[in-house]
Amino acid sequence: MYKIVKAECLADKIYLMDVEAPRIAKLCQPGEFLIVKMDQVGERIPLTICDYDREKGLVTIVFQIVGASTARMAELKEGDYFQDVVGPLGQPSEFVKEDIEEVKKRRYLFVAGGVGSAPVYPQVKWMKEHGIDVDVIEGSKTKDLLILEDELRAVAGNLYVTTDDGSYGRSGMVTKVIQDLVEQEGKHYDVCVAIGPMIMMKFVCKLTKELGIPTIVSLNPIMVDGTGMCGACRVSVGGEVKFACVDGPEFDGHLVDFDQAMKRQQMYKTEEGRAMLRLQEGKTHHGGCGHCGGDE
């Protein structure tokens, strides 16, 4: 059992939790993820490690309610327990393994979209700890959904916040900010790291390819075990089949087949929708409206 020592709602449907998991906290690196299973009947949900405290044996996770399982997880309070937490999983970010002098020579741009700010944070923090100032673009739909702004500001060289509706910071999508920084404000980047919704990463990669900036993305496909034994998370990268849980989750964004990855993410959409409706409406939902497929 893994105790939740802090549970906080960061924004509408976005939650942060600090969980006791000493083995994971001791060894984890930026870029890696873990899997939680809340109770006996729960599913295994992969989440990027957002922060860690090696001394206290804590790891931080951030998640958004997207279906029945995450909705159930959001009900957990401080002092409750996850039945299972396993990790760290996946490969650490490339720069963690590289010669630090080489890393220091490069100009990095981090692009965080929505809840993707959570996995970006430990990477930027790692950079700061190694004396590297990086530029960070944080994008959100609206001001209300912006998370971890202060945390990111504390570790970033420059933080550029943008909202789709212009309610805070710059206005427009993250791609517009990248374009402005490079083309209007004369910035140069050697590497871009983009983490967020699949569609955002796809369009960032399309742009950075034009701009000639090598780009790393962190993929979030469907996973089951997260240890390489099932292939549920397989993705096409440069025409080769890779398992995101063991070969990734970070890949060269210019080689990822995003269209296929997005279609694979939809595989259980109907089942997830049904589970959500069961949770919200209990036995009252019989699918009679004909819109959702319902429960036969």
Binding site: K37, V86, G87, P88, C230, G231, V235, V246, E272
Partner: protein
């Protein structure tokens, strides 16, 4: 009764069982078991024992069953096997103990597997538990993986007095017994759970959610956590795919994913959160036991199911009993057939599979006749789900994070067959991690050999 024939075993009706996940085979009752035991000729030089990888004293336990001394029979088996309720159910007895039985020359072999199962089930129902050793010898041993190899190794070492901790990557112990073999062949709560409890009663600790190579390394276990020896029984869990076009489409699964969702995550039950996708028409590619398990699972979830296999029926690697059960339940066999492409619709969902007819050519190195393509024989099977069951290989995570642990070109850990000794001092290995995908009983035999090797190593230190 006809002494040449086995006492028939009671099974669920095929039509009924094809719609549920209850155990197919109901097992012998006391009278049936004693009648079957009476068929044993109690050979002096028993060939059946030679056929058993862990050399259970088969004539002795069968005589005890015949005389109604079930507790004694249970103890006789326990001397050689830690998981009799499992092995009695899933061993390929026809090619092991029963394959050697003298009765089998003119008639049917004695039902050794079903008798072993009866004794194990009887012991559990009557609360017979293994005795915990009086005191430990103070030596700490780590076992990696809680499948059949790890459980056997841990159980044997605990009986010798070692302090054993098993590290398991998944959230439940049991390995393939939990995530791979379905409920209808091997009930989890009723059979696997209690057998694992028995290993714990010997004093073995099990720590789940620990991935060796990520959560902690072997070197750290030995240097920081005080383990003097390690046994690796991490199995061969990495699935293979064919590499044909369309294989990443929605509706294409590895058998491991399909079975893990159903068995470990209980996706077949409405009250569990994990979903499973079942189409209306499913093709399972492959002919091993895992293919049969995946096919029969899909069938129970309501699909029409086809086994697509490139050789003929005689070469099917699955157990005869499993093939027979699958056919009875309505699984359709498309033999001498090999997929060449998976067809998809505009949303990337499977809508069909192009297959090619095969014929058998000359025998290959393995002695099996090699399938040869028949030119111009392609046709399309109308399916919406494809389950790839082409075998598995060992996960390189442990070998790649352990200094000095050597593997061969198939990524299998190199280890001595007789004592499990690897190329790294104090580290032993066995089961599928060493041999590649094989059987439960061979993994148990390797676990036993590893325990012997570790005991020799630590008592000589």
């Amino acid at each position: 009764m006809d002494m040449m024939k086995k006492v028939p075993i009671r099974e669920q009706d095929p039509k009924v069982r094809a719609t549920n996940f209850e155990e197919v085979c109901l097992g012998y009752n006391q009278e049936e078991a004693q009648a079957e035991a009476a068929r044993c000729l109690n050979c002096k030089n028993a060939r059946c024992v030679q056929g058993c990888p862990v050399s259970i004293d088969i004539p002795k336990f069968i005589q005890e069953v015949k005389e109604g001394k079930f507790e004694e029979a249970s103890k006789t088996i326990a001397k050689s096997s830690a998981l009799p309720a499992v092995c009695g159910r899933v061993c390929p007895q026809e090619s092991q103990c029963e394959g050697k039985c003298v009765r089998g020359i003119k008639g049917e072999a004695v039902s050794i597997g079903k008798l072993e199962r009866f004794v194990a089930d009887w012991s559990r129902e009557n609360g017979i538990v293994p005795e915990k050793p009086e005191k430990t010898n103070g030596h700490k041993v780590a076992v990696i993986g809680s499948g059949p190899a790890g459980l056997t190794c841990a159980g044997d070492l605990a009986k010798m007095g070692y302090e054993v901790t098993i590290f398991e990557a998944l959230h439940e112990p049991g390995g393939v017994l939990i995530y791979g073999i379905p409920e209808f062949r091997l009930p989890k709560t009723r059979v696997v759970g209690p057998e694992i409890e028995n290993v714990k009663k010997l004093g073995v600790k099990i720590e789940t959610n620990v991935i060796i190579g990520k959560s902690v390394t072997i070197d750290q276990l030995m240097e920081d956590e005080g383990f003097e020896a390690v046994f690796i029984g991490s199995g061969a869990g990495l699935p293979k795919f064919m590499g044909i076009p369309g294989e990443n489409a929605n509706g294409v699964f590895s058998a491991n994913e399909y079975l893990t969702r159903s068995n470990l995550m209980k996706a077949f039950r409405d009250d569990y959160d994990t979903p499973i996708f079942t189409g209306k028409k499913v093709a399972v590619v492959g002919g091993g036991n895992v293919a049969m398990d995946a096919a029969r699972t899909a069938l129970r979830l309501g699909a029409e199911v086809h086994i697509v296999y490139r050789r003929s029926e005689a070469e099917l690697p699955a157990r005869v009993e499993e093939v027979h059960h699958a056919k009875e339940e309505g699984v359709i066999f498309n033999l001498l057939t090999n997929p060449v492409e998976i067809l998809t619709d505009e949303n990337d969902w499977v809508k069909g599979m192009v297959v090619r007819k095969m014929e058998l050519g000359e025998p290959d190195a393995s002695g099996r006749r090699r399938p040869v393509e028949v030119p111009g024989s392609d046709y399309t099977m109308d399916v919406d789900t494809v389950i790839m069951s082409l075998g598995t290989s060992p996960n390189p995570l442990i070998s790649s994070t352990t200094e000095g642990l050597e593997t061969n070109r198939w990524k299998c850990i190199i280890a001595d067959e007789t004592n499990g000794k690897t190329t790294k001092e104090g580290v032993y290995a066995g089961g599928d991690a060493v041999t590649g995908a094989a059987t439960v009983i061979l993994a148990m035999e390797a676990g036993r050999a590893g325990a012997r090797g570790i005991d020799e190593y630590l008592s000589g230190k």
